[in-house]
Amino acid sequence: MQRQKVLVLYLANSALDAPVIGWAVYDGTGQTRPMAGDNDEAPYATGVDALKDGWRLIQAAQLLPHHGSDEFDVSYLKYEFFFEQLVEVAV
């Protein structure tokens, strides 16, 4: 039986080899319990480093045009990349 582990990396720009500025991990195996504030050190230096370690990229944030009059507003982190690993677990 397989379970999914998800890694979310936030990068400094839209390139997958850009530096990691934020991260999150969700573990469908239940073997670990990642949570907010649990690590001050990023798991990888860049998105490509996650690929090299076996994570599969499954989604990347789109580049969207900026709406008139709010071009200077900032809100959510822009460069979000979702990765997965499928892990064998005993049932």
Binding site: A24, A36, G37, D40, F72, D73, Y79
Partner: protein, 316 residues
């Protein structure tokens, strides 16, 4: 009568740029002890007892008053109580006046108690940290509210502490929508001595850390609204004349620490493009609190507002 110690230009620029000011161990021990006595004893974990029940009983028994939103802060707390005494400390009073002006308004307060694992296990709940969030709602206003976080006892790293991300306060987001951001480069955890205060811009991203110690952790938060303008309420005498424009990008030596350099210092999490928008939004807030609509640093605003770009063709 001694003048209040208002915040300096450097303090204000730091708050505008990073969204917080930290004052370590500034509340005297007798006020800290009085506050903990007013909170009252917290009963130990009991099998089957839900945390909500413990919390409800704790609030009911505490000598901290219920206060209606919108009353003057000066009338929110009973004379001689720990919080009234804390708010009367010159450093505290001066910093509050600098940020939200004289006669500020009480918004709400809350007693944050973070319990060790044994309480969660007894109540059948999981011991986890709070998701990162921004308080209240999307807030497009020019000014801000102030959140005073009071740490009446020592907080160690295993106790969790308030987690916050410097420099996130100008992001327009919707409360818990950012909950998926578990960790952000540059995040800080409040590990501190008793009597420490953390003054936060109301927009800063933050969350309560998981308590992995054996002791309960107590923090008291007060949200304060401005009652009048927030423009030039700080120590304007400390504001030096704006220096001559400094070189940008091609720079051969370290620049002196000034309001401009503080506003132009990035955070570790800044994206490469929106980091520049952060600078612009910092300058907009500085223009507001300094009452100087023409302020610029490092040519960012001047470039965008250059009147020559909008001038009609020369008739001559």
């Amino acid at each position: 009568m001694t003048a209040l110690p208002l915040l300096s230009a450097v303090d204000m620029a730091t708050f505008v740029a990073r969204g917080f000011l930290r004052f370590d161990a500034v509340v005297p021990d007798d006020i800290n002890r009085q506050f903990m006595a007013e909170v009252g004893d917290i009963p130990g974990p009991e099998q089957g007892r839900k945390l909500l029940r413990t919390y409800t009983e704790l609030m009911a028994g505490a000598a901290i008053p219920e206060v209606p939103a919108g009353v003057p802060l000066a009338r929110a707390y009973p004379q001689g109580g720990a919080i009234e005494r804390l708010l009367a400390l010159p450093l505290v009073k001066g910093a509050i006046q600098s940020l939200v002006g004289p006669d500020p308004v009480f918004d709400h307060h809350f007693l944050h108690v973070t319990f060790p694992a044994a309480y969660h296990e007894a109540g059948g709940a999981e011991n986890v940290s709070q998701h990162t969030h921004q308080d209240s709602t999307i807030d497009p206003g020019a000014g801000f509210d102030l959140q005073v976080m009071y740490y009446p006892h020592a907080v160690t790293r295993p106790m969790g502490g308030t987690r916050f991300v410097p420099g996130t306060h100008l992001r327009r987001v919707s409360e818990a929508a950012l909950g998926r951001y578990q960790n952000i480069r540059g995040q800080q955890h409040m590990v501190c001595e008793p009597g420490t205060l953390l003054f936060l811009h109301s927009g800063i991203w933050h969350g309560g850390g998981v308590n992995l110690s054996d002791a309960t952790r107590t923090m008291f938060k007060i949200r304060i609204n401005p009652g009048v303008t927030q423009v030039r309420q700080w120590d304007i005498a400390t504001l030096p004349p704006q220096p001559a424009a400094r070189p940008i990008f091609f720079v051969k030596s370290a620049q002196p620490r000034t309001v401009e350099s503080i506003l132009m210092t990035p955070e570790p999490w800044f994206e490469q493009d929106t980091g520049r928008l952060e600078f612009i939004n910092r300058m907009k807030l500085w223009r507001h609190v300094a009452g100087n609509p023409g302020f610029d640093a490092d040519h960012w605003m001047t470039r965008l507002e250059n009147p020559a770009r909008y001038a009609p063709p020369d008739a001559s």
